[in-house]
């Protein structure tokens, strides 16, 4: 049986891992290679590296980071942040990424998803969505690291992206990101039932109980940053807890 994945996320800026609340008040958490290797040793199922600066200078750091992380990593590596073209994606895959995640550029030009899936396959094409609650029970898509709220309905966007060839959804609740209040379970359930591809829950995790809630709400994988970065829990401890609660994990 396919196990549920635990995915530590490295938010990177200028080649360093950082953590903040709602992408602000960033603190330095260390070097990406050391963080990735430590999480792999703890039993992480996959690593996500997001370049949150996504500037031209940042892009050079991003490829360097991917190359260095790839050398030490024998588990899958997903890379995102600032990918606007097939060529941007190719450079990261050539550097050693296994999957690429697109967000803002895909909202601006949805055909980018078709192009990436056509070139590299749907198993390589991840749609990252930042969803923000809109007050009437739905969610809209936020872009540019939450700076801009679009009128696009988040659930409908996920459905469209899958039709276009996205093979996985990395679903971040912008309302919960960095708040430690737990994942947005309604959002997760809505997207997980709307699409046939795997859904990764992101945004708001502060405890192993939050991860269980997300997996029970329909997530196939859970992404978390602060609970691992601040060494509150190791990946191994989290997996033992999940297994003890009847959730299949790789051990």
């Amino acid at each position: 049986m396919l196990t549920r994945r635990i995915i530590p996320c490295l938010d990177c800026r200028d080649g360093r891992v950082v953590k903040g609340v709602r992408f602000a008040n960033l603190r330095d958490m260390g070097a990406p290679v050391e963080c990735a290797a430590a999480y792999q040793d703890q039993g992480a199922d996959e690593i996500v590296v997001l370049d949150i600066a996504a500037t031209p200078v940042g892009r050079e750091h991003q490829a360097e980071t991917v190359r260095a992380v790839r050398e030490v990593l024998s588990i899958p590596l997903t890379v995102g942040g600032g990918i606007r073209t097939v060529e941007n994606a190719r450079a990261l895959l050539d550097a050693g990424a296994d999957k690429v995640a697109v967000n803002t550029a895909a909202v601006r030009d949805p055909a980018l998803i078709d192009a990436l899936a056509g070139e590299f396959g749907c198993q390589c094409t991840v749609l990252a969505v930042d969803a923000v609650r809109n007050g009437d029970g739905g969610w809209r898509v936020a872009v540019r690291s939450g700076a801009e709220h679009t009128p696009v309905d988040a659930v409908a966007w996920c459905r469209e992206a899958v039709q276009r060839g996205a093979g996985e959804i990395l679903l971040t609740s912008w309302d919960r990101d960095g708040t430690r209040d737990g994942y947005d379970l309604e959002l997760l359930a809505a997207v997980a039932s709307a699409v046939t591809v795997p859904v990764i829950a992101s945004g708001g995790a502060a405890s192993p109980a939050h991860l269980i809630e997300a997996l029970k709400a329909g997530a196939d994988a859970v992404l978390a940053a602060s609970i691992f970065h601040e060494s509150q829990y190791t990946v191994q401890e989290v997996k033992l807890y999940l297994a003890g609660n009847g959730i299949e994990v790789r051990r």
């Binding site: 396919l2 024998s74 590299f120 046939t196 196939d220």
Partner: protein, 207 residues
């Protein structure tokens, strides 16, 4: 550590960086090639596979690699096929109904059931049949939408389950075909590649 020379086939549709890094971690010295002579001569060959069945076969055909690869498999020379690479050894796939595979065995890859998440992305438990030489029980990382559901005659299989049992890997002599990605399957995958590298050290005579 002994170094083992491995030729990695550039199929034009696969991302080679991850596979090359994985093979190096297992102790291989990797050369990338896409010509028939290299495929023919290589002591050990790795056929990666990402992208669609038809696109991969078109690339292999344009590089005139179809015949040398099929011959190599028939001769039982040391080869690892990864992910789509396993499916290419068969005759066909639902993914590309008009494309013919390398036809090393009669098998058609079919799409996973609609009741499970497709693509299958993640770690699944692998259970090898007792006759398997290279494969051991453990967790492997999969990234696929299509799979085989029966073991071709003359091969040994390992199995996993995603909406029903499917072929996780096949082996026959020095040939190992993995539906999963050994290069992304942690220490379990590294160990599998190491066993294959070490055991294929001696020259294998064609049958």
């Amino acid at each position: 550590m002994t170094t083992y020379e491995v030729v990695l086939v550039r199929t034009g549709v696969a991302n080679l960086a991850s596979v090359a890094a994985g093979l190096r971690r297992a102790g291989a010295q990797v050369t990338i090639a896409d010509d028939a002579a290299s495929v023919d001569r290589a002591d050990r060959l790795v056929l990666p596979g990402v992208g669609s069945f038809a696109a991969a076969m078109t690339q292999l055909r344009s590089r005139e690699l179809v015949a040398p690869l099929a011959q190599r498999i028939r001769d039982g020379r040391p080869t690892v096929a990864i992910c789509l690479g396993l499916q290419l050894l068969g005759t066909a796939s639902e993914e590309s109904p008009d494309a013919l595979g390398l036809a090393a065995f009669p098998a058609c890859a079919t799409r996973f059931d609609d009741r499970v998440r497709v693509p299958q992305l993640g770690w699944n438990a692998v259970r090898p049949d007792a006759e398997c030489t290279w494969l051991r029980p453990g967790y492997a990382y999969f990234a696929n939408s299509y799979r085989l559901t029966a073991c071709p005659p003359g091969w040994q299989a390992a199995w996993a389950d995603h909406g029903g049992p499917f072929v996780a890997a096949l082996e026959r002599g020095s040939i190992l075909a993995c539906q999963f990605h050994p290069e992304l399957s942690g220490q379990w995958g590294v160990s599998l590649l190491q066993r294959w590298l070490a055991a294929t050290n001696a020259e294998v005579s064609p049958c």
